[in-house]
């Protein structure tokens, strides 16, 4: 596909790594299909997430293009809608009252046994194939070449709102004060660039629902979670083809 050859600023193509046994993968994929589909996203095995999530399609990537490759794993079953994450985000990043960078949704299922409600935190997925970066006319939004965070350069934003229309996750809003579109940057400007290790929301969560870390570090919690074949891990809206970097799981 021609599009694979188009250079998106900051997006590097990684080397195909060692591929595990095709048979094992196929078997696991089949097993997960049988186990069922969870509402809100397709079931993806750990191996197929990595395949689908990163730029080189069809190959299992041992190497990731970014170092650190920031990512977040959300334990959806632990969220209790205390919204301390939202409060921390607003305070840390000066988010105006009319906008939000992260949010918690509520979903009821009366047919469910036992527990009938769950809460789903959402934020910018810092996609690996971001439609916002593709569509911005002035490169006001771009992928940070070092860590993969989708950043905003506010001075270049013309306010055409294409990125807002393009985002499959409603992660962006227009900030009247800076006269530019704003969105979650994994607290890069407010915390990570100043030596902090966690985003404000990950730190504030009392239930350890948001796990933030470096996906290129095989010892990190996010790496362990995403690559655990015993667990079901999914992403929101895989149909949009944006290859998100925020993963969801239960347990």
């Amino acid at each position: 596909m021609i599009l694979n050859k188009i250079k998106i600023e900051g997006l590097k193509k990684e080397d195909p790594g060692i591929i595990p046994a095709m048979e094992r993968r196929a078997f696991l994929k089949m097993g997960l299909l049988i186990t069922g589909v969870f509402a809100g996203g397709s079931v993806l095995s750990a191996t197929s997430i990595v395949e689908k999530a990163f730029a080189s399609s069809g190959e299992f990537a041992e190497k990731y293009p970014y170092k650190p490759h920031y990512s977040m794993v959300i334990h959806q079953d632990r969220c209790i809608d205390c919204e301390l994450c939202m409060t921390a985000c607003v305070k840390t990043n000066n988010v105006p009252t009319y906008g939000y960078r992260t949010r918690v949704f509520e979903r009821d299922d009366q047919k469910a046994t036992e527990r009938k409600r769950e809460f789903i935190p959402v934020l910018c997925n810092q996609c690996n194939n971001p439609p916002c970066v593709l569509g911005c006319p002035t490169k006001a939004t771009y992928k940070n070449p070092t860590n993969g965070i989708v950043m905003m350069e506010s001075k270049k934003c013309i306010g055409c709102k294409t990125c807002m229309a393009a985002c499959p996750y409603n992660a962006r809003y227009f900030n009247e004060e800076t006269s530019a579109v704003d969105k979650c940057d994994f607290c890069f400007n407010s915390r990570l660039s100043k030596g902090e290790k966690l985003t404000a929301c990950a730190e504030a969560c009392p239930a350890k629902c948001r796990v933030f870390g470096d996906l290129s570090d095989s010892g990190s919690e996010v790496y362990q979670a995403v690559h655990n074949l015993e667990k079901t891990v999914w992403v929101l809206r895989p149909d949009a083809g944006a290859k998100p970097n925020v993963f969801y799981m239960k347990g």
Binding site: G99, E106, T138, K161, A165, N170
Partner: protein, 408 residues
Amino acid sequence: MAEDVTKTADVAVMPGGWAGVRGGVLQALQGSKGYYAALIISGLLLLAAVAAGLHAKYIGTMYAYGASREVPWGILISTYVFFVVTSTGLCLVSAIGHVFGVKDFMPIAKRAIFLSIMTIMAGFFVIAFEIENPFRMAIYNVISPNLTSNIWWMGTLYGAYMFFMAIEFTFLVLNKPKIATIIGFMGVVAGVAAHSNLGAVFGMLHGREFWYGPYMPIYFIASAMMSGAATIIFFTWLAYKANGQKMDAAMKRALEVTTKVGILLISVILFFTAWKFITGFVGGEAKTAALDMLLTGSYAFNFWVLEVAVGMVIPLALFILSKGQNLKLIVTASALMIFGIFFMRYDLVIVGQLVPVYYELGVNEYTQMLSYTPSAHEILIVMGGIGFVGLTFLLGEKIFNGHKSEIH
């Protein structure tokens, strides 16, 4: 230059070139009462729009416009689409005659080119109030271009297109048709490229089920020609009314063949639309939700009455009945089409956003479709765009002496 020799009755024969323009300006100062009334109304609409736009910037567009986080593109975007689609269509219809040499289409060509410039300027006028930072755009579109961005390509190519059309028109006024043809061809290329990129702005958003796919760029080009045909028929008739003149046989023939183009293209668009819906129903929930809104939901009136009936089916019937001869039927059809097509653009832009992106997630916050209502500010700016076209059209008729061509 050579004197303009036409068989049109009741018109003072004007020389071509700059002398003609000077004469035309003088003529503009001798209009009828109706002419001046229309001129003043157009001017007032334009002024009201500028006032509304500046006020909106002052109080904050978040408060002045009906657009929101979830529905960022409102009537200003759909009106921009309406104007630039019309402009591209006018360029294409004029190109049949002027660039590709089909003689029957020649008489409408010059007016079509003029209007294509005016409608694209109207489009830019409307969108200038929508873009939050137009001055940043002037700078960073140039020094920080994103070549993967459909918006960038559309903006740049439409700029080039407007430039080419203006040059082409100038050469036509200066009576240099050969150079005008070459520039006209470049204008067509730029226009088609720009216009399909505009379609791709919507079509390449994978996250928006209603828009995603190869259909948008293709549909936009076909739809443009349909708009162009309707617009040039209507404005040609209006021009002859405004100037108090009678059409000659060549012009009547031009309208007849344009009607045929209109019939063809309405049929094409009806076919496209039908298949878009049919194939859409095997799409995901988000896609079917949008289609349901148009077929049976809150936009059903817009779709069935305004888009389909007023915009396409009734004009098609009138065009066919007219046999290309009955001016009353042709002009009525064209007027209905222009009105209906405005809503085609509106529905396209708005409905594509009313399905929440998290609709399929099934959360309590997004069980219903979103809603959008244009605000007073936005409507005034839209009226201003229409006023701009009216104003420039009326002045252009006088200044350029009814866009009569010296060479046929």
